[in-house]
Amino acid sequence: MAHEEVKGCIILKDLYYAVQDNTWVKVEGDDVVTVGMTDIAQSLAGPILHAKTKAPGTARKKGRPIATVESGKWVGPVKSPVTGEIIEVNEALAGDAQLINRSPYKDGWVVKMKASNLEAELAEMTTGDAAVEAYRQKIEQDGIECTHLEGSDTY
């Protein structure tokens, strides 16, 4: 999968990103998307202790929480990058929240959603080289350096 690395932070080019909220969207087709936290988000949070997702069937407007995540030093929401309904949650996170740290773009996905305004909302996100550039600026501006737990995905 095409990717770039900036200060240790992995950015996959085929995902869509809500850069400010540090979330990603993978378009699965038929208005279904997978949503997760970025490598930058997991680095900033540090080793995650708990991740609690909203239940399937929950309707979310863009920007509302789809989950709460807590580490030893941070607690906050994972904000939905799209408007729609949660149709599936990553049950594995309940037993091993550090999946988000080790595999933010694969096994550590957070929810799948059926989006109701996908085309317009994807247009507001960034993807490809534009996403890499947006994160490069953010990483440099905020002095971010990504760190990875043992056993993290490699690219």
């Binding site: 609690k52 909203k54 929950t58 509302r64 929480p65 709460t68 030093k73 607690v75 906050g76 929401p77």
Partner: protein
Amino acid sequence: MEDFEGKKILVIQTHGVETPTRTYSPLFYAMAAAAMEIETMVWFTMNGTNQLKKGEAEKVQLDPTSNVTLKTMLEMAMDSDVQLRVCQQSLELWDMTQDDLIDGVEIMGATSIIELSLTYDHVMYF
């Protein structure tokens, strides 16, 4: 996770910069509540008030290897939509005025906080 939308929590913080280990947790709980879409207010009174004086919270750093200070925690709480309020009477205790307060903190009197506490779903005292 249950849906707590519409619920309200009031966190009362009475500890200040002289007891650093008692300053982070109330803000952390407040941020957790805000992340759960619970309307959250932190009410600073007694010694709690002194952490809101400009220049004070920056000096409190629990983990010397981290760049997170009490000021960072206060800013993160405000970024999470946690409302910060300070007791008017306790400002006088610390010889502070509105000009001494960090940005984003509002002053309220004792009767207002009593009124508010009766309308909140839960009050946490520290």
